[in-house]
Structure formats: C-alpha cells, structure tokens
Symmetry: C2
Amino acid sequence: MTRSEQFSHTSFQAALVSLSLDRASALPLHQQLTEALRDLVLSGRAPAGARLPSSRQLAQELSVSRVTTLTALEQLVAEGYLETRRGAGTFVAHDLPRAAPAVGAPADLPAPQPPQPYAPLSPAIPDLAGFPHADWARHLERAWRAPEPGLLARPDPLGWPPLRAAIAAHLEGWRGLRCAPAQVIITSGASESFDLIARALFAPGDTVAIEDPAFPPMRHALTRAGLALHPLRVDAEGLPVDALPARMRGAVVTPSRSYPLGTTLPLPRRLALLDHAARAGAWVIEDDYDSEFRYTGQPLPALASLDHAGRVIYVGSFSKTLSPALRLGYMVAPPRALPLLQQAIAAAGPRASLVPQPALAAFMAQGGFATHLRRMRRLYAERQRALIHALAPLADLLQVAPDPAGMHLVCPLTPACPLGDHDIARRAARAGLGLRALSAYFDGPEAPQGLVLGYAGFNADTLRDAAATLAAILRHP
Amino acid sequence: MTRSEQFSHTSFQAALVSLSLDRASALPLHQQLTEALRDLVLSGRAPAGARLPSSRQLAQELSVSRVTTLTALEQLVAEGYLETRRGAGTFVAHDLPRAAPAVGAPADLPAPQPPQPYAPLSPAIPDLAGFPHADWARHLERAWRAPEPGLLARPDPLGWPPLRAAIAAHLEGWRGLRCAPAQVIITSGASESFDLIARALFAPGDTVAIEDPAFPPMRHALTRAGLALHPLRVDAEGLPVDALPARMRGAVVTPSRSYPLGTTLPLPRRLALLDHAARAGAWVIEDDYDSEFRYTGQPLPALASLDHAGRVIYVGSFSKTLSPALRLGYMVAPPRALPLLQQAIAAAGPRASLVPQPALAAFMAQGGFATHLRRMRRLYAERQRALIHALAPLADLLQVAPDPAGMHLVCPLTPACPLGDHDIARRAARAGLGLRALSAYFDGPEAPQGLVLGYAGFNADTLRDAAATLAAILRHP
C-alpha cells in the first residue's frame, strides 16, 4: 500500500464514520446510505480495493438497522460499485475512475439568458403584444381542464381533426381554396412541412425548381434532403414559368407574393405552371406565407384552388398570422399525395404538440382568428405607413414604395448609397436592428442590393427610432 | 359557334341573371359578385371567349350600383379571369381550363375520424386518465393569460430557460445526473432528438453501434440520416461492449434498461463503453426512456453521470412520464456537443411548441411532476401485478415474470405455443389489442419469439379482458 493509498483508506474510513443520515428526510435511510456510499466511490474518496466494514459494523457506527446497511451494500454490489469476495468481505470494485470531476464542468456554463425581444425591423415577426392572450389562455384552459376523450386517445399523426376542419374553413374564406379537412395536415411549422415534403414526395437527386430569391431555410431543408435545386431568377411577373426545366420533379413557388419581393404570379403563368407540372408529373409546392395580410385590392385565390390535376401541395403556417411560439403550420395535400405524406409523418413521428391544437380549433371556430387577422391587417397597414414616413428622409439612398400586402418592405439601394447591403445589415445588427440584406435571399450572381425591413412586429415609435438608427448608419458609415 | 358552345353561352347568360347576392352578408356586394363570377369561370359555365354584359347592364340586372359591378369586373380582369378588348367589351379570358372539377374531388374524402383509444397492451403508453388535467390546465392558463416578456420574445431555439432548469433539477434528483440548465435542450420528443443528433454529430456513412434489439423508430431515424448501423446482439448483461467496432463514430445505448428486454448494463461495461468511446473519439447516445418507473431496488444513475470525457448525450422524453400528446423531450449534451446541436436546430428550425413549456416548468418547479411520477409508479406496479395475474392461466405458452421496472412485460413464448409471435401480433391487432411481437425489435437472425405487453396505460379490468382475448387467440388459433 503506497502512502497516498494509505491516506485514501484513512480518509475513506473517516468519511464512512462521518456519514450523516437525515432521519427527517422523506428518502428512506437505506437509500440515503446507498447514495452516500456511491458518492464516496465516485468521488474517489473510497479507492478501488478498499475494504468496507461489515454490514453489522456499519449499522453500529451509523446507528441504523442492519437491514438498512445490508440493503445499501447489496444494492451497490448489484450496481457494480462494490464487490464481495467469499469469506473476505465487501470491497470497492476495481475498474472505477479514481476521481470524478463534474461532467464537462457544467457549473462553469452560464445559465441560459432570458429570451431577448425581436430586433426592430426583423422581417416576418407578427405583433405579439396584440396577440389575444386572455382569449387564448381561456381556450387552453377549457380544452384541457376536462379534455374530451379524443384528446386522450392515440393522436392522429395528421393533427387534431377539429383543427383540420377549422383550417379548411379558413382557407375557403380567406384564400379561395376549397378542400376537405382530411386533406389538411398539421405540422410544427413550414420547416417541418418542407422536410416532410422533401422526404415523402422526392428522392435524393430529384430536380426541383425554386425561385431566386427564395426563403433561405426552405432552400436549406431541400438541400439537406439531397434534392438538386434549380433556381430561376424571378422577373417582374414572378417565376419565369417558360424556363422551368422539362425534367423537373417539383417546383417550390410563392405565387401570391414572390418571397421576399412581393410579386404576384399572374393567372396565365399560374396556368402554365400547373400545365407544365401535370405534363412533367411534378409536384408544385405553394408556399403561401403571408397572404392574409393584404391591404389594398383582393388577393388572387391560392394557386392550389386552380389545381385540377392534384399536383399542388399548399403550405401555410400560424407563425406569421398568430405567433412563431405556437410552432403550428399545415399543408393541404391533393388526395394522391396524402398517403405519401402520412407515411413520412408516421416514420419520423409527429412533431406538432397537441397542447395548442384544440385551443386553436376553438379560437378559429368561434371567429377569434378572423377577428385577429382583420385587426392585424389594419395595424400592419398603419405600421407600413409609419415606416414609409420614417424612411422619407432617406429617399436619396433607399427606394421606398408602399406594398399592397405583407409584413416587410423591400427597399432597393440607390446608386448614391455609400454601403453595400451586407455591410449595412452587419452594422445594423451591431446597432440592434433585425433588417436583412436583400442580396442574401439570392442564389445566383448579380443579386440586387437592397434592404428587407420588417414592420409588422414593431410599433410606430420603435419603427421611427429604428429608421433614425438606420439613417445614422447610412449617413455616417 | 358550335352547338355545345351556344348552349354554354346560353347557360352562362342564365347563370348571370340568376346570380343572387346576399345583402345581409358581411361580405361586400362587389366581393360577392367577384366570387360568383370567378366561380362561373372556374366551373366552366362561363366559357372562354364569352362576352359579359357591360357593367351598366349587369348593375341593372342585379339591382346593384355600377361601382359594385365595375369593381368586380376590374378585379377579375386584374386576376386574368376576364379580358377587355378595346371598344368591344369584357370577355372570359382564353387559356382557362374548360371545366373545373373540384380539386381531387375533396368532397369524396371522408372526414378524419376522431382519434381512437390506444389499443390495450400497447407498450409505452402512460396512464392518460391519471394525468393531472385540472392542475395542468391551470398552469397553461396562468402562463399565457398575461405572459411574461420572455414568452413574447425571440424564443431560444434550445427551449424555455425555466423548463431547462427544471429538467436539470429533475435529472439530478431522479437520475443522479448533474448538469447545468445550459446543457439541456428541449425538443419535440426523442424522435427529433435522434434526428438532430444524427445530423449534428455524424456524417453520412459514419459507423454507429446500436443494440439489437432496439427501438425501431430510432433505427429508422439513424438510417434516414445515412449512418452505417452496426447492430450488436445484447446478452444477459446488455450491450456486449467488447464487440464494439474500433472505428465506431458513435453508439446508441439503453443502459438503464435495454430496450425492450429491460437488462441493466452493469457498471464495468458502462466504464468500458465510456473508455472505448473516449479512445475512438465517438459519441455515446444514452436513451433513458422509462427509468423513472422502477418498482424494486434503485436505478443505477444515468450513464451520463459517469461521463468525464464529455462524450455522452442523454436523451429523455415526457411522452412516457406525462403524455405523448405534449410532444416534448430533451437532450443533455456535454459542452463540446452543444454548439453542434445548436447549429443543427437553428438550421432546421425548432419544432417544440413554446405553448406547453412554461406550464410544464411551473408544474415541475412546484413539485407536481414528482408527485405525478410517484403516483404513476405505484399505479404501474399494481397494473404489472394485475397483468401477471391475468396471464397466469397461459403459463404453458408464455413465460411471465415480474419486471422490477418499466411499462411493459416481455414474455418469451414457450415451445408449446402454437403460433409465432408475428402471427400472434397480427391476430391480436385484428382483435383490437396493441401487443407487439418481440422478434420485430430485432435486426439480426434467430430473433427470440415473445410478446411485448404494455400495461401502464390500461386499468386492471382492461388488462384482464385483454389477457382473455389473448388466451382465446393462443388456445384456439
């Protein structure tokens, strides 16, 4: 026995004797003893090979019953921390780590910070203060206080049926899209929808046309799935349908408002797109991301409403109409795509929580959602005007024009602007602004320079201050 | 004009005149007219090239103002359904589909069925009637009625910080695992955790050892990610650690209870596994799926609590401890894996809804979760006894033995059993039972024959009836 081993043994005996068990604790004594002994082993104070007192001795020293010490020792033998040698007693097992530092020093990790407010001018953020919290909390409470039997049953992986029906009704009224509730699939948002579509309807290597510019996370989801993306630069009327590849297996489009530019795909192009898809046997994914918010004129009905060949999958979300915190989105699939999507969901397991679904179904069925959308539409129209007003002094650097719809403005840089859009976005981020560089949405060369400025989630004061900060960046680079 | 075209035109004029607008509707008249005319075009009753009455004539015929008809006609021209020819009037546009059958005949799709109760003997189903609904509904209502600012801010993609702290505290008390809240990542369940781990920590083609048998959805998630799985048949002590491939990049293990057999990996194998992983630079994924439910003896602390090299990712879930409807799970990652997992979540977008997170954090912090677990532990122990009792008459066909933990029994078939386990599972499914064939969990050859019988989610009466149904299947095949 080396000196340090001897010291260890002494320290072990001392530790053993000084073990204190809490008789007032709810934890049984044998369990307390098991844990204390295990700690001694794992902390290295009980070195490998050290002999333990017998269960009888230990019971005497600790003033507990022998059942308590026997139970604890047997448990630790079963766990492998201790070993018995016939006739010789109980020993700390070999093959144990000598010292047990805390796992990766977790104590050094700072606690997670409370979430920070969205940075002003971040696009795609709804007004969260205007969310009807009291209503929503009441719907949550009612749905779950004494849940109806279906909520405690095996969840339908496609979503809570009343919510699917409520979404079908919403789409008919707001997007001119008639569909059966059975065609509506609830997901945890557009990202999951894209993941599922990529996996269910395509094989790696399939050619899928997308718009350029496009929503970067959508591009990432399809790339991750191994699809061969074929970006087509949008023109003044949106996706150049004539340029669609003949052998495409799919196309992802934003016909209501090309993202982020806001161009509406006119009817002849819509029909040509559907025709091309039908002939190619391709799927068309319609990403209808913010068309509930149209301020002047009427929206064209969803592309899916023109789909007589059953090739369009419509993708929607509550992230922009209600809150990104819900993590609820949906797809409307033609009957022939339903079994494929259903299979993909069953294989991966559903992601959408059931908790908000009955509350949202009731909120929609009772008209709360439509009322909220109309309120937000008025509010966002005002906020767009406020932002345009606040940007007026920058007219020499930014082209600012009203947009009949949406939650953000796209403002091209004028030739007089002293900075590129990436540079502006970087400086703006440092100044606490969430605006984006327009060119970041583009894939191909010669991306136009501009700023994407979200206004929906920010009140007039915040927008005015943000515009002033932006002015300072542009005027004094 | 052919006869059928003439008929169409006549029918169109008739349809136009008989258009009825609802003056009591909340929808403005011009919008009603727009929709009615669009329907006529899309349904084919207004054939391409058909001339419309002038806005003045239409206004007279429908007894509405001319502003109404002008607005509607202009909208439809803008949408491309109608076209004007200078001096000649307004016509239904060409390039429109002649007939517009309903999209994939949605009306033919039956409405989604209400979710059905879980089939008796389904494994991994908790007691949902025993879920503390009133408490839970109150927590939901409180959290969202007047949400604290952090709930309306940019959500942390790793989860609501108070929930991460509550999970860290739970793991220390229940699983002997000390970790910092910053190491806890909230997901929508174990499936998403496996997806993220596969993407964040491995590259396609990486060798990952898994147990055989194993949880099939886990196997699917890793296969989908392109990993090269290396299944190792478990023996009486669980994973044969000596057989781990030298070049493995990872291993997915169930050390607390090998799935579905329930074997506990003894300490020497745990240490050897960690040692092997550290030398191979591999990640160890610990799937700790139901260890809160131990009825006799004490659980070994989580494998992750022994991990001094920072190589273990601990995967847990609330699907079995509370409800699969929550869609909430978590990972505990060593500091070096955190940035990789964080990046993967940011790229794919988070899936876990924020709605249940503050309610669950409060439920855990106030002790409701621990109380619930203790109640369920007592209940499940009783139910296991009830199932064993109910299966006693089948002792010649099924080996039934108590299990010190878990939510299901694994019962090997005796040589006298007249049917194979797949055959039994098929017949049982037809009879409304949710039991599983043991061999279905195996990947390699010579899978043992047996039944996996879930008891946690079903009361004693249901278990008795289910055992009787099973007896009928086995006795009179």
